[in-house]
């Protein structure tokens, strides 16, 4: 990890938090769907991030979002769960060393299929934890499940758009 990478990650951290809190938290489509793009930060951490750092960074990220939404612990626990799953997801979907090209996971280096699997699984883990912890009852299971799936789709959509905009192919 070079100091340049660290610098960019810190910038990305703050940018995503403010983007989430000031803009995305005010978006709701049909009263159901709420995108959580801020977890893009965890998706984009470099491959060689130490695993303890992964957990701590995710915790701090979730905690910061919680400060703004006054849901102390909610986003933090969902983020930590997602960060915990990340190394396992990466090793499960990577077939050979060539799929870990480059410093950070990206659409350009790993290809669409790899990146889709990677982000779909992690986004689903995060959204599942987030929405079910928020309600903490199973009586509204189906309604919550619909919210999880629709919001995950929306988040995934935003992640892919950011990938195409920020890291265009064949640069």
């Amino acid at each position: 990890m070079t100091s340049r990478t660290v610098f960019f990650n810190i910038i990305r951290f703050f940018f995503l938090i403010f983007f989430q809190v000031l803009i995305l938290n005010h978006i709701n489509l049909s009263g159901y769907i709420n995108p959580y793009l801020y977890i893009y930060f965890i998706l984009l951490l470099p491959f060689d991030t130490p695993r303890w750092m992964l957990l701590i960074a995710a915790f701090v990220l979730g905690w910061s979002i919680d400060m703004f939404t006054n849901t102390i612990g909610l986003n933090a626990s969902a983020c930590v769960a997602m960060a915990f799953a990340r190394p396992f997801v990466i090793s499960a979907i990577s077939s050979g060393p060539e799929s870990l090209l480059g410093e950070t996971p990206s659409l350009r280096n790993q290809g669409l299929k790899w990146f889709l699997y990677y982000s779909i699984i992690l986004i689903l883990i995060h959204h599942f934890a987030l929405f079910f912890l928020e309600i903490f009852r199973f009586s509204e299971f189906m309604a919550t499940l619909v919210r999880v799936l629709l919001s995950s789709l929306f988040t995934l959509f935003l992640v892919l758009i950011s990938e195409y905009l920020l890291y265009p192919r064949g640069k």
Binding site: N25, N28, W52, G73, F84
Partner: protein, 276 residues
């Protein structure tokens, strides 16, 4: 001992995960106990100032609507000033007017953050304990309910919206004073659920539900909404209905906090009964 140490070092990832996850879950589920603690007010102060800045900008977009609401409110108040009444000399028979005693006082405040898309929704307003706001006070807009204050810092208050799984408002039918409970179980922010309607009550669509005044939070007679649908349950003792909220929770600009001037007296009365 050394082996134990090695074991921890080898599996530190799992332990760190468990530690962080437990820590945040404990915080999440003890959330209510943390209200008023230093942790909570720090987060309130930070997010409050950022939200304040942002709502300062977005306020300009709703000026037209705010004006309209203010004008309506002004017309209503104009009709209440003494000059608007036809006065006779009936009052002359009362030497000391102990009948009219101010029971409710209203503090107006601006909403600086609000949501309707979560399962549990909250609002933040730009007034707090310095302005006389305390926990458990009701929050209204016009003559419609909004929610209840759940936490206060010196400059901001945190309000549990009606749109929350913990929110339960005691209401009644305007036409026959039958008590019901109003809740919200997610989904559209326009519609809530009316629970515990006695079976013998005959409902029609459009029946008005108002606050009962039983809960010490809201004065009696505020609009909650109108019945928009109902189901006659066969095997239970109560019917359930659907309510269309009068409040548009998605466009709250300025709200009012209800201060019950006689709350202390009411609580003392209850406590004195308990201690007997």
């Amino acid at each position: 001992m050394r082996n134990l140490f090695l074991f921890f070092r080898e599996h530190y990832f799992y332990f760190l995960f468990l530690l962080l996850e437990t820590f945040s879950l404990v915080l999440l589920f003890n959330y209510n106990e943390f209200q008023g603690s230093s942790l909570y007010s720090v987060s309130n102060a930070v997010s409050g100032s950022v939200n304040n800045m942002f709502s300062g900008i977005s306020e300009y977009f709703s000026l037209r609507k705010t004006n309209r609401v203010l004008i309506e409110e002004m017309a209503k108040l104009h009709s209440r000033i003494p000059e608007a009444f036809y006065t006779t000399d009936v009052n002359i028979f009362y030497k000391k007017d102990s009948i009219v005693h101010l029971e409710y006082k209203y503090i107006s405040a601006k909403v600086i953050s609000n949501s309707t898309n979560k399962r549990n929704n909250f609002l933040m307003i730009n007034k707090g304990s310095l302005h006389g706001i305390e926990n458990h006070m009701g929050v209204i807009i016009g003559n419609k309910i909004v929610g209840q204050v759940v936490s206060v810092s010196p400059h901001f208050s945190w309000i549990m919206s009606m749109l929350n799984k913990d929110s339960r408002i005691s209401g009644k039918f305007k036409k026959n004073n039958q008590l019901v409970n109003v809740e919200w179980n997610g989904g559209s922010y326009r519609r809530g659920q009316v629970k515990e309607i006695p079976k013998h009550i005959i409902m029609v669509k459009g029946d008005t539900i108002i606050t009962s005044g039983n809960s010490d939070i809201f004065p009696e007679g505020l609009m909650i909404g109108t019945i928009s649908g109902f189901k006659n349950a066969q095997d239970e003792n109560f019917n359930n209905g659907e309510i269309l909220f009068s409040t548009d929770f998605n466009s709250l600009g300025y709200i009012e906090v209800v201060v019950d001037m006689m709350r202390k007296e009411k609580e003392e009365l209850k406590d004195s009964f308990k201690s007997q």
